[in-house]
Symmetry: C2
Subunit: 676 residues, 2 copies
């Protein structure tokens, strides 16, 4: 499901609902000292460490295939980047102290549910990685890379024995190349990031009303008319499939139908339901020619994508377009089809047959689930764990995406605590639970570009990856954030750009070499959550995404940390360092406005930030006064407090499409002051 | 010429000599308000600006070829990155306000001295770029991109008319893929950087004693035995040649012979002069089989590289290897060859004939110039403008590299003020001057890896590019540094990593997410200049280059700026802002040590920085005291002053293979205090 603006209010309430579902259990981490994500199923820490230096050597034993050799090479490249020690060729020549033992092959085309388990034994003198097939080796190598750290003696990994396997077999990331074209290079480094956190499904969506971005040889007008010149050639698609296969990932293509399909009609107007194809978004499900077209098209795409699953979309159909078309009305009346939803079911049944004839299993969004939907169709749920649990009860397999919409600027913690088997699924039988295959983070590109995509996807997707891989009881949010910071840095070494984007964009929008005061402001701002951005600014497909709400990460680390400190101060649990840190930040924020204002005037992209910066200064002043009052145990007048609280609440509201994230934390401080 | 350690002392004195040559004329810039590099030959600034927004449209007129279309697309990609406005497809569809008018084609294989001129006319309503061939268009597009800036109204370029052409026809960058293999991706983005600053020769060196890194199909043991598995396939070479051609650059290959060739002998021992080929670095110039081999090899490579020039090295031969070999001695006696130098001349003459038989012109380092060297051989000078001028007097064409050794950690200003026609060349006739073709920056990789290469090459190479492109009288160092900072930021938008590398490496070596105190220290340190690093640490080909002297840029901007302030304070020309800034920095440096010391202990890569950090704190204390004394016009005892000066000079010496660049500036302050 994408975020057609029509659906905002429904989506809003459903997303909130499914996010509140799982209880926020904050348990202490049993495996706390492994700073990796996802945490392994089982690990026993030993004493000491295995050093990594120029003598490091590696060897493949047992079953071999080119993919393993490439994996070994990439492992050495990454290890070299993590340490600065040139191991990429030397480690092959050195005596091996890292042995990779592979029992046998995995399936030629990666299958859902294949064994991904591995055993990684690290002693002070050697490393043994054992797996039944190359998939487990790939997972184990990533675990090792994440364990690398620098110590007073050398780079090293800790002595540990890890027995690991995933909780769910379907752990995906959707990248939406329909709304906006996403260059191959961006796809590739996101696949690198997916590999690092052990995701195994790249769900690649190619078309939407806005564009059709993959090459069809049978229907070339799809990309010729629908792509604006930017589409993936079939060779590039094969390149990405091979790239994903090398990293132990399946590629599931999605062609959303019968709606969100305006771009198809630019080349093939006869598919359209409407009189004016450019104002139609729905395929005409009543014509035989539609099915002849789709049969050939799906045949072509099913051959291009080797995966056993084929996603046919099916979400958010605007039935009114059909119900308002006299010809389609006539068709419906003649067949006693009572409404658009039922007409879509007729369409879905035909499409399912076409997909099945290609020996593939259909995947569809919630809406494809109807009483007579074939039982092997996999349901991808944007409506929430409820609908997923309901599907499982009715014999359907499903994948959760509700709660994993990483374009909506929610916190890593919010995503982390959504469990595909949480809330309503708790009452499922174990057979029914087994039908819940996992989940997918969804990177929709309505108002995200390939430029800032990395900073939306990472590092938060690592938290979702942990939810889908690690045991259900791994739920300590503090531990997650601690490890997320470390993994985020590692992902930078692996080539992801999420940590660089904000500064680059701040430099560009300000025209300054080092816009320090703008960075100070940006560090405590977030874009509004869920669908509020669209309510605050009119976005079209051509709106440049080059403002501060595009540049800042979805979650402010500084604001989160300040909030923790404010909580401790307000509840009387603060240590002296908390008071110092709070004061230091508040002084920085108070004094920042005077430095920032002249800079903001110089660029049309920063002028609207003037009141945001003023608010931060005033919020900080109130915070400093609150610290003084609390430390001096002073009483203030209820009136004065109320005025401050009102200002803080006003400041917490969106301004320039941004949220000042520290205002609520300062309110905590103010609320803690005693009144006269 | 590479930096075999043997040659250090000679090279040292020559480099110093050639750097002192050109007078340091600091003229005011006539075209000061264009913040671009290289400055154009002629520009007339107008009033107003041309805005860049979503309506921007571009069109090619006149002569067309695929290279121009690709250039237009890259231009739009870059413009989109510089502005965040998605123009990459839209600008082709919009009504064109930017017209590119090309008169005709350039040579199919780019030739030395082809017309690269262009005219760029920017008005408030449109842009016209005119050139006689695609090379001029490429240059003009880069000028436009560098002009883009953000204003209170929009992104825009200033109204200006530029008539531009290069001063020298040979403007190169050498990348040494002989000492260390440099991945294709690194080559590519350096070519992007070269394009941005209008360089036109990529000098690609493939082999040295340490490795042979390109595929020969005729002699496959060269790469099989000599490369450790890392070499450029011929397809990759062709890919790079095409990539360079698209950017208006020639690719001149270098195969250095007869010395620096140990890696050749791993596969073809019969080429070697010595009994033990692994201890031999010189090809045997006395055997007929050598010339049969080289004839076939050069034939293969001459076919692979379309450029008319072929570089055969010829530098730094150790004659003793020949003179100590009885068989070679016998050969020399029989032919009355009096020494190794003369024997090399015999070899060079044969090689020159082989190259000429491929219809190519030979290029060689200084040493190939002998009384009987054919007049069309091009001399690349590592010895200095003197030897270049001498060659020109004798009828040879030449290219200057002395003074442009960007691996030696000199300042941009030092490189900038070296002129191929400076010093001794001033007395040349205009015919002789025309034989000085230009220059080449040289990126040797003895102790530079592909990881930190960008931060060695950029941004300083832009200063060399300006020297080679812009009129000779463009010599204002202050203006150069101002523009260099802006261009450095632009180069970041174009994909170069030079501004990112230091922080990444500091994070890695410290193991910290944001090692702020280490950044403060790093910002005032530089690696020692010229060949001093090798004197201070034993480097082998396997030494990891992951320490602070690898991480920091060759030139500290902070130290340079502090030095300017200290100079103004010491000479009584400081403004209040200078005093404030000096004090702010000194306080930061003084207080940094206490924060940094605990961090340094945690990593084996930072432990040796403890005394460097202590020194910075003490230097800063002395500096703060000096500011107090100067502001209070206090007299101090000559003894106390002398003790401080001694400490400052000691602190200015290398420690942990690093130079504390602010110590001499603090000495300026101390020297300015009056004594009792």
């Amino acid at each position: 499901m994408k975020k057609a603006y029509l659906a905002v209010s429904i989506v809003f309430s459903l997303v909130v609902l499914c996010l509140l579902g799982p209880a926020r259990i904050l348990r202490a981490q049993e495996k706390g000292s492994l700073s990796i994500m996802p945490l392994p199923a089982h690990a026993v820490l030993g004493e000491g460490e295995f050093p990594i230096d120029g003598n490091f050597g590696i060897a493949l034993k047992g079953y071999k295939e080119p993919r393993l050799e490439k994996a070994q090479q990439r492992f050495l490249d990454t290890l070299s980047r993590e340490t600065g020690i040139p191991l990429w060729r030397e480690a092959i020549l050195n005596a091996p102290d890292f042995i990779i033992q592979t029992a046998g092959p995995s399936a030629a085309v990666q299958q859902l549910g294949e064994d991904e388990s591995y055993r990684l034994e690290i002693s002070t003198t050697g490393v043994q990685l054992t797996a039944s097939n190359p998939l487990g080796v790939l997972r184990g190598l990533q675990t090792f890379l994440q364990l690398v750290r620098v110590t007073p003696k050398s780079f090293s990994v800790p002595v540990v024995t890890i027995d690991d396997k995933p909780r769910f077999p379907w752990r995906g990331l959707l990248i939406d190349s329909g709304h906006r074209f996403v260059p191959i290079s961006v796809i590739k480094h996101n696949l690198d990031g997916m590999e690092a956190v052990k995701l195994n499904v790249f769900h690649w969506r190619f078309a939407d009303n806005q564009g059709f971005h993959v090459e069809s040889k049978k229907f070339p007008l799809l990309q010729k008319k629908g792509s604006g010149g930017f589409y993936y050639s079939q060779d590039e698609v094969r390149e990405i499939i091979a790239y994903a296969h090398d990293r132990g990932m399946r590629v599931v293509p999605e062609f959303d139908m019968p709606c969100h399909t305006t771009s198809w009609f630019l080349g093939y107007v006869e598919l359209s339901s409407g009189q004016d194809p450019l104002r139609s978004s729905a395929i005409d499900p009543t014509r035989q020619s539609t099915y002849r077209f789709l049969s050939r098209f799906i045949g072509e795409m099913a051959a291009l994508f080797p995966d056993s699953y084929f996603h046919a979309g099916g979400d958010e159909c605007d039935s009114k377009e059909w119900e308002g078309n006299p010809r389609i009305q006539k068709f419906m009346r003649a067949r006693a089809i009572k409404d658009g939803g039922t007409l879509q079911a007729v369409f879905t049944a035909r499409i399912e047959k076409i997909i099945a004839s290609q020996r593939k299993t259909m995947v569809g969004w919630d809406e494809v689930l109807r009483p007579d939907t074939p039982k092997d169709v996999v349901i991808q749920s944007w409506r929430g764990p409820e609908s997923l649990a309901e599907a499982a009860r009715n014999g359907y397999r499903g994948v959760l995406s509700c709660g994993y919409y990483i374009d909506l600027n929610q916190s890593a913690a919010e995503h982390y605590l959504v469990d595909p088997l949480g809330a309503n699924a708790a009452t499922l039988t174990s057979d029914q639970k087994a039908r819940v295959l996992g989940g997918e983070a969804t990177m929709w590109t309505d108002i995200v570009s390939h430029e800032n995509m990395d900073n939306r996807v990472w590092p938060r997707t690592a938290a979702i990856a942990e939810r889908l891989w690690s045991p259900q009881q791994v739920q300590d949010v503090d531990s997650m954030y601690q490890r997320l910071a470390i993994v985020s840095q590692k992902l930078g070494f692996y080539g992801l750009r999420h940590r660089l984007i904000t500064d680059e964009m701040l430099e560009r929008m300000s025209g300054e070499m080092n816009p320090e005061p703008l960075k100070v402001l940006a560090a405590v701002l977030q874009p509004p959550r869920l669908y509020q951005r669209q309510e605050l600014r009119a976005f079209t497909d051509f709106t440049p995404l080059n403002r501060l709400d595009d540049a800042v990460p979805p979650e402010s680390d500084t604001a989160r940390q300040f909030n923790e400190i404010a909580n401790r101060i307000a509840s009387g649990k603060a240590i002296p360092q908390d008071w110092r840190q709070a004061r230091e930040w508040l002084v920085l924020w108070r004094d920042n406005d005077a430095k920032l204002q002249p800079l903001l005037k110089r660029s049309f992209l920063t002028q609207d930030l003037a009141p945001v910066s003023q608010n931060l200064a005033r919020v900080a002043e109130i915070g400093l006064q609150a610290l003084d009052d609390l430390q001096g145990d002073r009483l203030i007048s209820a009136d004065a407090r109320q005025r401050n609280i009102e200002f803080l609440r006003l400041s917490a509201k969106p301004q320039a499409v941004l949220l000042l994230m520290v205002a609520p934390s300062v309110e905590l401080l103010v609320q803690a002051i005693r009144t006269q």
